[in-house]
């Protein structure tokens, strides 16, 4: 099993942690995509059996290290939060099919909500490197949950929304998706809670902007063998289940079906 060393772990908000660890693969040689995920074992023992999927937030190819930002909510992520520099953690990945930049695009929109925000950092950096201009619309519950704002500020324009108005504008991310904001946007990329993705999908359809959604389903193996994490998509009028861990987690927005 691929075991790697934790380089750093720090608290970045109430119940929120940022962990940096060695990559289990050579990033330069094997490559990776923004939007992929890492599958971490919370413990060496078998009491907390399954791995925890955490999205790749930042990849440092030169030092071959990866960063995840996650919420310590359940038993497993709470155990992960106790790891410190020098500790060993069992990591699979990066796994799955991530965000793909589309050639010819000049301006992209990132829409992130809560703990769905992290994977958009690496994507935003990548799009910027491709020469695109990027605008990010980020939504959080409140100020104590707001994360990665410095990183997004360096990527391009940024609009912050919060449920209670303690940071940015009060309201939902879809409230910020106005004609002005969407002007010249060729494509959007979104990750966040399912109700948000649903609303973003509907809004962007109205504005006729194509894009991608990163989905979340309860996952078992992370490599496509348990068929636990399927999501319904529609391709050429045909409804089918696809594996979020293998074919996803990122899908074209127009294909994603929310029941």
């Amino acid at each position: 099993m691929p075991k790697v060393r934790v380089v750093k772990q720090e608290s970045v908000g109430t119940g929120l942690y940022k962990m940096v660890f060695e990559s289990p693969i050579d990033l330069k040689e094997k490559g990776f995509m923004p939007g992929q995920f890492l599958h971490l074992r919370p413990s060496e023992s078998y009491d907390l059996l399954l791995r925890r999927p955490l999205s790749l937030c930042m990849a440092d190819v030169e030092h071959n290290v990866l960063t995840v930002v996650y919420r310590a909510q359940g038993e497993g992520t709470k155990r992960l939060a106790r790891l410190a520099a020098g500790d060993v953690v069992d990591v699979l990945g990066p796994l799955g099919h991530g965000f793909a930049a589309v050639s010819g695009d000049r301006r992209s929109l990132l829409v992130g909500g809560g703990i769905g925000v992290p994977p958009l950092v690496e994507l935003g950096r990548y799009l910027k490197k491709q020469g695109q201009s990027v605008i990010s619309v980020l939504g959080f519950q409140n100020k104590s949950q707001a994360i990665l704002l410095d990183e997004f500020a360096q990527i391009g324009d940024m609009i912050v929304m919060s449920d209670d108005g303690t940071i940015g504008e009060r309201g939902l991310v879809t409230g910020a998706l106005t004609e002005d904001v969407l002007m010249d946007v060729d494509r959007f990329y979104s990750c966040g809670p399912t109700p948000m993705l649903k609303a973003v999908q509907a809004t962007m359809k109205v504005f006729c902007v194509p894009g991608f959604l990163s989905l979340e389903e309860r996952m078992g193996c992370g490599i496509g063998i348990c068929v636990g994490c399927v999501h319904e998509i529609s391709q050429k009028g045909e409804l089918k289940y696809v594996k979020t861990c293998k074919e996803g987690p990122v899908f074209p927005s127009e294909e994603v079906v929310f029941s």
Partner: protein
């Protein structure tokens, strides 16, 4: 006696074929082998049991389909598979590249006639070494479990399958019965060539925030180390009463766990949930088994079978 782990004989004979070791991935826990074959050479396995196959395509249940439980997990996948024709055309031929890998196809359905049709179709495939009859899936309405809880119905099923099968038939038993020994005896009498046990234990988890069952299917099958003692007890009891080989299944995570099942009377074992935790589980378990035998002066793994009963 000190021996090296490389010198331990892990092989066994099953259905007149030599298996290089007693460890095979369990149905539904390895898909059709493709994904894991990217990680290691499947020739290392004793055999492979591929995902349950039905007559026609099944989309499976809605999500959530999986949930973690203490030392285990619940699943309610709902037998998602592309149907027997596509399994024969698109999945099984892929496994031909592994020259020493007996392929066991798990067969499921909702009526005896469906099972018979699947088994008849599989006669045309050169890739099938044996069939595992899934009369114990708890996760679909009429998903086979009704055949696995009534000895007379099970017997009728096994007879119908034996009448058309061209390969050995393993019957996979459900633990969700009052008396698994009578189920085992009924299947053996009807002609089962081997028995595999146990399938998952029916369980349930409530999402207390939402005040609803967590799984979309309401209930699911419990697997993992949590069920191992149940499985060991059932293997012990069944293998004490039947003459056909018993394949042990239930929460095997390490080589030590294989030893436990073999001492309880299993001739071979299947590894399920462990593959989800660590995709390299099977080869690791095989080398741990060899090491355990070496450390304990056991030169042939078959010497362990039923050792706890002597």
């Amino acid at each position: 006696m000190i021996i090296n782990s490389e010198d331990v004989d892990l092989s066994l004979d099953l259905f007149s074929r030599r298996f290089k070791n007693p460890v095979m991935p369990a149905s539904g826990c390895f898909s059709f082998g493709r994904e894991v074959s990217m990680l290691y050479d499947l020739n290392l396995l004793g055999a492979i049991v591929v995902k349950a196959t039905t007559l026609t395509e099944r989309l499976g249940n809605k999500t959530p389909r999986v949930a973690e439980t203490p030392s285990g997990m619940l699943n309610a996948i709902g037998l998602q598979n592309p149907g027997v024709q596509r399994v024969m055309e698109e999945e099984l031929p892929y496994l031909r590249r592994f020259d020493d890998l007996p392929v066991i196809v798990n067969v499921a359905g909702t009526a005896i006639e469906d099972y018979v049709e699947v088994v008849k179709a599989l006669r045309d495939s050169p890739d099938v070494f044996a069939i595992e009859l899934n009369i114990s899936c708890p996760n679909v309405k009429c998903g086979g479990i009704q055949f696995g809880t009534d000895p007379l119905v099970a017997q009728e099923m096994v007879r119908a399958i034996k009448a058309v099968a061209s390969v050995p038939v393993i019957v996979k038993l459900s633990p969700n019965v009052t008396d698994i020994v009578s189920m085992a005896l009924a299947c053996e009498e009807a002609g089962a060539d081997a028995l595999s046990l146990i399938n998952t234990v029916v369980g349930m988890q409530i999402d207390v925030e939402k005040r609803r069952p967590l799984l979309a299917n309401t209930s699911g099958g419990l697997s993992g180390p949590a069920i191992r003692p149940i499985a060991v007890r059932m293997v012990y009891e069944v293998s004490s009463r039947v003459k056909v080989p018993v394949i042990g299944i239930g929460g095997i995570m390490t080589g030590r766990d294989v030893v436990e099942f073999m001492m309880a009377g299993a001739t071979a074992v299947q590894v399920g949930t462990a593959n989800f935790v660590d995709p390299w589980s099977c080869p690791r378990i095989i080398s741990e088994l060899a090491q355990w035998c070496a450390d304990h002066g056991v030169s042939r793994v078959t010497d362990l079978v039923g050792a706890a009963k002597q």
